[in-house]
Amino acid sequence: MSTPMLVRVVGASCQYQHGHPIRLPDVAIAAGQHTLLLGASGTGKTTLINAIAGLQTLLTGAVEIDGGAFSTLTASARDQFRGQKMGLIMQRLHLISALTVRANLALTQSLAGRAVDYTMLEKIAASLGIQDKLDRPPRQLSQGEAQRAAIARAVVNQPRLILADEPTSALDDHNCEAAITLLLAQAEQYHATLIVATHDARIKSHFANVIQLVSA
């Protein structure tokens, strides 16, 4: 019996404002199959991640998640699904500036309809080495600390699918290793599938499934 596909991108294309249509590669990723989308700048890694996350409206084609037509859901249903089932680490970190790191993590749980589990938040923060930064606003964090806070947010709901866009590019080797190890460990622990888009070849060795993207 074959492993069911968790993510499938078929015949998808999209277009940025004032830009040309972009054809996305067809992708099929099985549940539990951690995948690296590797490519240089301009190869469409971020666009593909955004399309899978439902942040990018498709011109053609479809994105299926867990066998369901995710890309055809209404905007609100897509937001709800994403909040509950996906963890996102975006290229620009986008933590909510007015809230502390702890409140950012708690909000992520609340918006997914979960009860806030502060013990779990602290455990995740400790595993990323930011437990002493929990009560600080994002502007008081270094770039690396903010990136780790974003990773904490991505895993806090124990999602089925974790999408990370350049999660390690701002980290030094030590923290890069720690972050990708945590991401993979979280994915394993909660049976989530991790998809990482990056040009950072340092983490290539952690992934058995690497999709090399090339410029169209």
Binding site: A53, S76, A98, L111
Partner: protein
């Protein structure tokens, strides 16, 4: 419900982040609300007080001059009398069948800012006054204290005091002859509380009128005799005014004209003069209310500008809420909640300041014992002021909220 809680928590965090501009908007709105609240409280209490003080008095007969001054001095005890009138002449007028009751008032004395009113017991009856202790006067230089007068002066039954010439707080020269306190009245919520009441004869005695004590000393036990004191036995004496009750409503048409046409006195209607007073004050009050309304509008504009500026800075934040699973309604609520919270804080602060302001004004004027105004009451109009202020804050937030709904979409983050 959970979405509302989340929205308000985020909104509060956003307000804390730009607390200076939020505080300015709160203050501006609070000043507008406070000004209107204080005006409403003062006017409501002043109107209510004037209605209570003039209840049962259809007409005032006094010396010619300003009718408003006559009413203010004789009914509300807040102005200087227009002069004195002859008891003999007045007696002829009040003997008309149109008059049911005529209560004499002899003013000109005070004690520590409290006016001493020479009158008869019917005056106390006009305000439903009851003795809290002691008795009414029996002879000249016996006095009964209103509730506030007794409390403030500390005078008790059996105490004596020397009245001063004049009605001002500072007082004039003191008389040699002292009054004895024989009774204290229970509070009535009217002008009576702030007066020291005695017989007309007491005032005459102090002013060295040639007067037979028996005639002048109208007894409390026999007020009719006091009423008669003027025309039967008091020829040549003067009083300040008569407070008149009509025998029939029709008297209101002809009797004032009769007084004005056939005597050297004037007749003034408390109802008409009160209405005229509020009409005169109306321009100033309307200007103050308008100024306060402009402050509230400026505050609403401040909320609008603040939210629009914040929206430009926080569009990505709001889009992130959608990315994390928030419904579009949460984004709208976060924006509306900021406006509403500023509005709510402004209203609460405004209510506190308005009431404190009215209390302060009341305390300031209480020293002169002329106006009984305070901030410890609530009036229905306040509900409308609160709703108007919150409505303004809400309206100011609608456009930013709509823009947040339209622009802060997950796709926004995809393009960044």
């Amino acid at each position: 419900m959970k979405n509302i809680g989340i929205s308000f928590c985020i909104a509060l965090a956003y307000l804390r982040e730009r607390k200076f501009s939020a505080a300015l908007n709160v203050l501006l709105l609070a000043l507008g609300v406070a000004t209107i609240i204080a005006l409403v409280l003062i006017l409501t209490q002043a109107e209510s007080r004037m209605q209570r003080d003039s209840a049962g008095i259809d007409l005032v007969i006094g010396a010619k001059g300003s009718p408003m001054q006559l009413v203010l001095s004789s009914v509300f005890q807040v102005d200087i009398p227009t002069g004195n009138i002859s008891v003999e002449e007045a007696s002829q007028v009040i003997a008309e069948p149109a008059v049911k009751l005529a209560v004499p008032l002899a003013l000109g004395e005070s004690y520590r800012g409290f006016r001493i009113v020479g009158t008869n017991p019917a005056y106390i009856g006009l305000y439903g006054g009851q003795l809290a202790g002691g008795r009414l006067w029996d002879k000249p230089l016996e006095a009964v204290l209103g509730a506030d007068a007794a409390k403030t002066t500390g005078l008790k039954i059996g105490s004596t005091f020397n009245g001063s010439h004049g009605l001002s707080d500072s007082g004039g020269a003191s008389h040699d002859q002292a009054y004895s306190v024989v009774g204290v009245l229970a509070p009535t919520g009217s002008v009576l509380d702030r007066l020291i009441v005695t017989s007309v004869a007491s005032v005459w005695v102090l002013h060295d009128h040639e007067q037979e004590p028996a005639a002048a000393g109208a007894s409390a036990a026999n007020p009719a005799k006091d009423d008669h004191a003027g025309h039967d036995h008091s020829k040549g004496n003067e009083v300040t005014a008569y407070l008149v009750q009509y025998a029939t409503p029709l008297a209101a048409i002809s009797f004032p004209r009769f007084v004005n046409a056939t005597s050297s006195m004037q007749a003034a209607s408390p109802a008409m003069e009160s209405a005229r007073l509020f009409q005169l004050l109306g321009v100033g009050i309307a200007a103050l209310k308008g100024f306060a309304a402009i402050m509230m509008l400026c505050a609403a504009l401040g909320i609008f500008i603040g939210l629009m500026n914040a929206l430009d800075e926080r569009r990505a934040d709001l889009a992130l809420l959608r990315v994390l699973g928030a419904s579009p309604m949460v984004v709208v609520l976060v924006t509306l909640a900021q406006g509403l919270m500023v509005g709510l804080m402004g209203v609460i602060l405004g209510l506190l300041l308005g009431h404190a302001g009215a209390e302060w004004i009341g305390q300031t004027y209480a020293e002169s014992q002329r106006v009984a105004i305070g901030g410890r009451i609530w009036v229905v109009e306040e509900v409308w002021i609160v709703l108007a202020a919150l409505g303004l804050a809400l309206i100011a937030s609608i456009v930013p909220a709509w823009r947040a709904y339209r622009d802060a979409t997950p796709e926004l983050l995809a393009s960044r």
